[in-house]
C-alpha cells in the first residue's frame, strides 16, 4: 500500500499545476477497482454455495438442480477436457504457423496473411457455434457412427479453430521480437535458415511461446456460447475419462444455461456464482503466470542486449 500512499502525495503536489492529473489517475486505477469489484461480488454471491457444500462444491460428482445438489467436479472436468483437447490440436498448428509467417513467408505476403488471421480471430463465437451445430456436429456424428454429434470432440475442434489465431498472434509477436543479431550470428557461422530456427529462434522464444499457450488456454476455458452449442451439456464425467465421444457440460455452459431460471438468492443462484468464481480464479492464475513468464523473459533479453 505504501507506494500508493506516496503516489497520492505526489499527485496532491502536482495537482496545483495540472488538475487534470487526478482524472487521469482515477481512470488508470479503474482497472484495479473493476477487477477487485469482480472478485468481491463473485465471492459474496457465491459464498452460500461454498458454505453449504464445503469442499464438496469442488469435488462433488453430482450436479442436480432438482435435488439441489451442486458438486462441480464433472463441470470442471468437462471444461478441462474440452480445452485440453483443443490445445492438443491448436498448439502445434498455431506455433508452426507462427514460425512460418515470421521466418519463411516473403515480406510481401506477411501483412496480408496476418490480416486474414486477425479477421479469423474477430469472428464472433456465436457464429462458430452456429456453424459447429449445423455443419460440424452432423459430420462428426456420421464419421464416428454415433447418434448425436454434440460431444466433447466437436467442442474441442471448434475451440481449436477459435484459439489458433490467438496462439499465432502472440507467439508470432514473440518470435519476431528475437533480436536480429542472434539470427545473423547463427547465419554468419554458416547455419542454414532451418538450423537457425531450430537452434536459435525456438530456444530463445520458448518461454514466450509457453506464455502464448497459456493465454490461449485462458481464452478457451472462458469460451461460452460456441462450446455450449456443441458440447452436449450433460453433467457427467465420461466413461472412460478420455472418451471424447461423450457429451460433457463445461462450466461456462452451465452458467449460461441455468442463470436465466435461477431465482435470485437461491442456492442454485449462489452455486452459479461459485462456478463464476472458480472460472475467475483459474483465468486469473493462468494470466498472472503468463505475465510473470513474459516479464522475466523480457528482463533476460534486455540483460543480454544491454
Amino acid at each position: 500500500m505504501k507506494p500508493i500512499m506516496r503516489k497520492l502525495i505526489f499527485i496532491h503536489k502536482s495537482l496545483r499545476e495540472e488538475p487534470i492529473i487526478l482524472i487521469l489517475f482515477l481512470c488508470a486505477s479503474s482497472s484495479i477497482i473493476f477487477i477487485s469489484l469482480m472478485f468481491g461480488f463473485l465471492t459474496m454471491e457465491g459464498a452460500q454455495a461454498f458454505f453449504t457444500f464445503g469442499i464438496n462444491f469442488l469435488i462433488g460428482r453430482t450436479w442436480e438442480t432438482n435435488a439441489n445438489l451442486y458438486g462441480a467436479l464433472p463441470l470442471i472436468y468437462g471444461s478441462l477436457m474440452v480445452v485440453s483437447g483443443a490445445l492438443v490440436i491448436a498448439v502445434p498448428l498455431g506455433v508452426a504457423a507462427a514460425i512460418f509467417i515470421v521466418e519463411v513467408l516473403p515480406f510481401t505476403f506477411r501483412d496480408l496473411v496476418k490480416s486474414l488471421i486477425e479477421l479469423l480471430a474477430s469472428i464472433p463465437s456465436i457464429i462458430y457455434g452456429f456453424i459447429g451445430l449445423v455443419f460440424l456436429a452432423p459430420q462428426i456424428a456420421s464419421f464416428f457412427r454415433i447418434p448425436s454429434g454434440t460431444v466433447a470432440l466437436t467442442a474441442s475442434i471448434l475451440l481449436a479453430m477459435m484459439s489458433i489465431p490467438t496462439i499465432i498472434g502472440v507467439s508470432g509477436e514473440i518470435i519476431s521480437s528475437v533480436p536480429k543479431e542472434y539470427r545473423e550470428a547463427a547465419l554468419a557461422l554458416g547455419a542454414t535458415k532451418l538450423q537457425t530456427i531450430k537452434t536459435v529462434v525456438i530456444p530463445v522464444s520458448k518461454s514466450g511461446i509457453l506464455a502464448s499457450i497459456m493465454l490461449g488456454f485462458g481464452r478457451a476455458i472462458g469460451e461460452t456460447v460456441a462450446v455450449l452449442m456443441v458440447a452436449g451439456n450433460i453433467a457427467i464425467i465420461p466413461e472412460p475419462p478420455w472418451n471424447f465421444l461423450s457429451p460433457v457440460y463445461p462450466i461456462t455452459a452451465v452458467i449460461a444455461m441455468q442463470m436465466g431460471e435461477a431465482a435470485v438468492g437461491s442456492l442454485e443462484y449462489s452455486a452459479l456464482f461459485g462456478l463464476g468464481l472458480i472460472l475467475f480464479t483459474i483465468t486469473f492464475i493462468v494470466n498472472t503466470l503468463a505475465d510473470v513468464i513474459v516479464r522475466r523473459e523480457s528482463k533476460f533479453k534486455g540483460g543480454v542486449k544491454r
Binding site: F25, S125, I127, G222, T224, M259
Partner: protein, 276 residues
C-alpha cells in the same frame, strides 16, 4: 540435399497457415449458402413483421454506447500510464490488473454485470447495464492500444511543444494525441469488433427476445443480433431462413468493422513514416 530438406520442412510448416485460410473460406462458403435470405427488406422491416430491423439497430446502440463509455476512460488511463506514471510498482499493478481484466471470461463479466450494474445499481435488464458490462470487456483493449499508439509518437513531438512553453498536458492533448489518433481509432474499432458479436456478457444484463420498437431510453431492454441468434438456436431450436439471415448480417457487421481497423492501420503505417 540439405537445401531440399529445408524446402520440404518449410512446406510442412506452411500447412497450418493454409488450414487457417481454408477455415475462413469454409466459414464464408457455409454462410453464403444462406445468402439468398439476405434481402434489403429483411434489414428494414420490423421484427414483428418478420424482419430484423430492431436487432441491427439494437446491436449498433449497444456497440456505440459501450465504446462511448470505454473510450474516454481508456484513453485517459493510457495517457496517465505512458506520460505521467513513474514506472514503479504502482504501474506494474495496473498493468497486471489490465491483463487480468482482458482475460476474464465474458460469461463471468456478464455475471458481475448482472449483480453489480443490473441489481445493485438498479439499472435492471437495460441498455445502460449492457453498455457498462461491455465497457469492461473493451476497456483493456483500448488502454493497451492507446498505450502502444502513444509510445510510437517520437518524443521530439512533445519536446517541441514543451520548448514553445506549453504545459505538459497541453503538449499531450494538442500535439501527441492528434498524432496518435489514427492508432487509437484502429484499436477502438478492434475493440468494437470484439464485442459486436458478444453474447455471454449481455445474456443476463440487457437483452430480450422481442421489444415493441426501438428502446426509447437507456433504461429499457434492447434486442441484439447475437442474443437473438443464441436464443433462437439453443432454446427455441429454430433453424429457419431468418436464423441464417441474422448470422450473415452479424458476420458482415463484425468482419467489416475488423477489416476497417486493419486497413486503417496499414494505411497510416505507410503514411506516417515515424510509425515504422
Amino acid at each position: 540435399m540439405n537445401h531440399l530438406k529445408e524446402k520440404i520442412f518449410f512446406a510442412i510448416l506452411g500447412i497450418p497457415v493454409l488450414i487457417c485460410l481454408a477455415a475462413i473460406l469454409w466459414i464464408i462458403l457455409i454462410l453464403s449458402t444462406g445468402i439468398s435470405t439476405l434481402r434489403w427488406e429483411l434489414l428494414t422491416t420490423s421484427v414483428l413483421q418478420g424482419g430484423i430491423f430492431e436487432m441491427v439497430i439494437g446491436t449498433l446502440y449497444l456497440l456505440i454506447g459501450a465504446v462511448g463509455v470505454a473510450t474516454p476512460i481508456g484513453v485517459l488511463a493510457a495517457i496517465y500510464l505512458v506520460e505521467y506514471s513513474s514506472k514503479g510498482r504502482f504501474a506494474r499493478i495496473i498493468d497486471q490488473a489490465l491483463n487480468n481484466m482482458a482475460g476474464v471470461p465474458s460469461i463471468v463479466v456478464g455475471l458481475f454485470g448482472y449483480t453489480f450494474f443490473s441489481r445493485l445499481l438498479g439499472l435492471g435488464i437495460s441498455m445502460a447495464a449492457g453498455w457498462l458490462t461491455l465497457m469492461l470487456m473493451i476497456l483493456p483493449i483500448i488502454v493497451r492500444g492507446t498505450e502502444e499508439a502513444l509510445k510510437m509518437i517520437p518524443s521530439s513531438f512533445k519536446e517541441a511543444a514543451l520548448a514553445l512553453g506549453a504545459s505538459r498536458w497541453r503538449a499531450i492533448h494538442s500535439v501527441v494525441l492528434p498524432a496518435a489518433a489514427p492508432g487509437i481509432i484502429t484499436n477502438i474499432l478492434l475493440g468494437m469488433a470484439r464485442v459486436a458479436g458478444e453474447t455471454a456478457a449481455i445474456l443476463f444484463t440487457s437483452c430480450v427476445l422481442v421489444t415493441r420498437g426501438l428502446p426509447k431510453s437507456p433504461l429499457e431492454p434492447v434486442m441484439a443480433l447475437a442474443f437473438n441468434l443464441f436464443v433462437k438456436i439453443t432454446v427455441l431450436g429454430e433453424s429457419s431462413e431468418r436464423v441464417f439471415g441474422i448470422a450473415i448480417v452479424l458476420f458482415l457487421i463484425v468482419v467489416s468493422i475488423a477489416a476497417a481497423a486493419i486497413v486503417l492501420r496499414i494505411y497510416y503505417r505507410r503514411k506516417q513514416p515515424w510509425l515504422r
